[in-house]
């Protein structure tokens, strides 16, 4: 049993790194036979790879430390009841601590809705989630520099708060977020 899972894992890794291995072979071949395009592509690659090596390992140490030290659950507990500026601040803070693609934020938006967060704060959460996630800001800083990151962040912040206000005004009182995980099974929560 154990041996088979290990071999599965190796097979999975091989599959994952198939392109990397292929590229490696292609590069070695290019240098052996003096194939110019292959060498140019490889020099492009090394430039990006070195760029990545210079900050990605640091970034993931930071993300890991962040994960164990920041009390995400505590913030979540307070979010529904808090309103006004403090409420906005809390949803932005919570969004900044997340990672992943936007569709990963939809279920969290449902959670916030269940806890009584306003439509405005739910949309501000989505805005902050898409533009201010800390792990993403780290990558942005590394690749596009602090000037770009700082300006983009400072311009985005008031804009998505404004979008939150406008959306609340558009959707009005009857706004609701549906839970898709219990679709057709009645109310699980």
């Amino acid at each position: 049993m154990n041996a088979s899972t290990t071999s599965n894992r190796i097979q999975g890794n091989l599959k994952n790194y198939a392109w990397v291995l292929l590229f490696l072979l292609f590069t070695i071949g290019s240098y052996l036979f003096g194939f110019r395009p292959g060498m140019v592509i490889y020099s492009n690659f090394t430039e990006f790879f070195i760029e990545m090596l210079l900050f990605i390992p640091f970034l993931f140490i930071l993300i890991g430390l962040f994960d164990v030290w920041v009390p995400k659950e505590m913030i979540e507990r307070h979010i529904g009841k808090t309103s006004g500026i403090k409420g906005i601040f809390l949803v932005i803070l919570l969004a900044m601590l997340q990672a992943g693609p936007l569709y990963g934020a939809f279920p969290v938006a449902y959670l916030l809705y269940k806890k009584g967060a306003s439509a405005r704060n739910i949309f501000i959460y989505l805005g902050a989630f898409s533009t201010l996630k800390l792990p993403m800001l780290g990558i942005e800083l590394g690749y596009l520099g602090w000037k770009f990151t700082l300006i983009r962040t400072l311009v985005s912040l008031p804009l998505f708060i404004l979008v939150g206000y406008i959306l609340e005004w558009i959707v009005g009182k009857q706004f609701e977020v549906k839970d898709l995980s219990d679709h057709g099974n009645g109310d699980v929560a």
């Binding site: 790194y17 990397v20 492009n44 640091f58 993931f60 430390l65 770009f148 983009r152 959306l167």
Partner: protein
């Protein structure tokens, strides 16, 4: 090159200090954090390497002049339209789109165009729109995407003006 090294320095110092403080407060928690970070890094490593390979190959085949023509200084509205369209439709995670953005800048795309591309990628999702509609309803989802598209263009204009 210079920016890269100063980046590495800043990241290194911040990481070193955080690690030190974390270790002083709680060794066990620190090691747990390191383990989590390593796991996440390992999880994105192969898609990350794949995308670097893809960009390296694409840069060889797409000449600089093409990128400058459609996304560079003189591209004007066309550049914005191309960036906003691709950014709104596609769904590319951040750790993949940032090296791509850096490569485009290097090849002569403007900051404004890259900013529009990045912000639409982040804030507008045509592919995920059906899913979004199921969560929030048609009205809210359509308006959210529309307003965010507008916001992305404003962000692009301001960044292009300041950088």
């Amino acid at each position: 090159m210079n920016m890269m090294l100063s980046n590495a320095l800043i990241f290194g110092v911040v990481t070193g200090l955080s690690l030190l403080v974390s270790l002083i407060f709680d060794r066990k928690k620190t090691f747990l954090g390191l383990k989590k970070g390593w796991k996440m890094l390992f999880g994105i490593l192969h898609p990350f390497l794949n995308i670097l390979i893809l960009i390296s190959v694409a840069l060889f085949f797409v000449p600089e002049t093409v990128i400058i023509k459609y996304l560079g200084e003189g591209s004007g509205l066309v550049g914005f339209a191309v960036a906003a369209t691709i950014g709104s439709i596609t769904l590319i995670p951040g750790f993949i789109s940032y090296p791509l953005a850096a490569a485009l800048l290097k090849q002569g795309a403007t900051y404004a165009v890259v900013a529009v591309f990045m912000t639409t990628l982040m804030m507008v999702g045509i592919v995920t729109l059906p899913l979004e509609i199921r969560y929030f309803g048609k009205k809210a989802a359509l308006w959210r995407n529309g307003l965010n598209l507008l916001a992305a263009i404003i962000i692009g204009i301001i960044i292009g003006w300041l950088l």
